[in-house]
Symmetry: D2
């Protein structure tokens, strides 16, 4: 039931959002689920050598957008309508893995949750719910 | 790592919150996880024979509170500090099952997520994240 | 720009939501703004003689719904899609006043914020943002 | 009741958060209220010449942090614990103004709301509520 592959999503992002240059790899994509990895470089850190809050918010929004692309394709200009995030623990220095799960894919709204982890940790560092508005065809 | 059983939680609720009379059964309680079932009667419905939004919000808050009781016991007067809920689908007529998962149990804050289902459905009807404040001992 | 008066909203609620029996008075209704008052009786309290969290969540949802009715009328079956609430202070014993402000009234989504006060207090006891979905005509 | 001036906040940010290089001016700071302006350059835009969602989330978090600094000073390492944002309208091309209002400043948690506007617009483009945790002294 996927309509775009990971490779197609990356190509679409490169063409459509040249400003978004986060070094993100898609590790897994299947119906209703996506896992991506952010390579954490200096620019994503805040004092204390921990990944900044805005980086995690952006990552959550991106993960949900990628998953939506995979499920409905690039035809529609989807927009974030709301995002709720809880910061749970200070991330360790290292990459961040984000797992997005679609909770509802309706005709007009898509709601998903994104759980983020330090690459070598079991406990989540942040959890977000994200809603996208899907414009009429 | 649990400090109260399902039975002890029910006794505690009966004594401490006589106003809270929702017909709730604890179906499963283990470290970090709780599942409860709300017996849906007329008073929890809204027009269209569907469970009302306030009922689902109350159920989410209750599920998180029960899980917290199980994990830290009745000693502390924990208070909800925030709740975020997304309503996903109209519940079918019938009981509602709520599954609470603890995302972080800190010294001062506990954050969990609660996913709610119609008793015979696979897709969630609502999803909430709930934060409780734990007072100093 | 209002399409229903306070009196018409009350009549509509009485007919359409007989289960919703909260003793609420509409104190002010104008374009984009509504103030209602909840008469706090025993059933809305929790231990410590303070208004319960579920009561405040229900009140926030109700305030936003009344404001939406005033602005778009009873034609559409609007549904809450999300609600986010922060509990700020323990309410004093007494009525609760809720002030709803429309942040955006679109064709498909309406977003508002609701600030709640104890009747004799200046500091808010809770603050919520509420999103309603407006079905196609 | 303010303990830092706008100038002191800017100096503190420059020293403590060298990575945070958003071009932000503090336009007004008084007890419980702050208004800042983001100079929108290319890097904050997304396709369609509109300010990106992550930019608005970061701005909301920053506004709340500046207001908190003004009210409690640089002594404590405050951390964002949660953020909820609703995107309301596409911002026009131009600067973004963010107004932060403190809803509660407790000993352990601070909760505020941030409303964001296009510089020449009356209707908000986004609204956020932000919670910070204040560590024990």
């Amino acid at each position: 039931m996927l309509v775009m592959t990971a490779e197609e999503i990356k190509d679409f992002m490169r063409e459509s959002f040249p400003q978004a240059r986060m070094p993100i790899e898609i590790e897994e994509l299947r119906d209703g689920f996506l896992r991506i990895r952010l390579e954490v470089t200096n620019r994503y850190l805040r004092p204390g050598d921990t990944v900044s809050g805005p980086t995690l918010m952006t990552l959550a929004d991106t993960a949900m957008y990628y998953l939506l692309l995979g499920m409905i394709g690039p035809v529609a200009l989807a927009l974030t309508t709301s995002l709720n995030i809880n910061f749970l623990r200070a991330p360790k220095l290292g990459d961040i893995v984000a797992e997005a799960e679609m909770l509802k894919l309706g005709k007009r709204l898509a709601v998903g949750q994104v759980t983020m982890y330090s690459e070598d940790g079991n406990d989540p560092v942040a959890h977000a719910t994200v809603t996208y508005s899907i414009p009429p065809v």
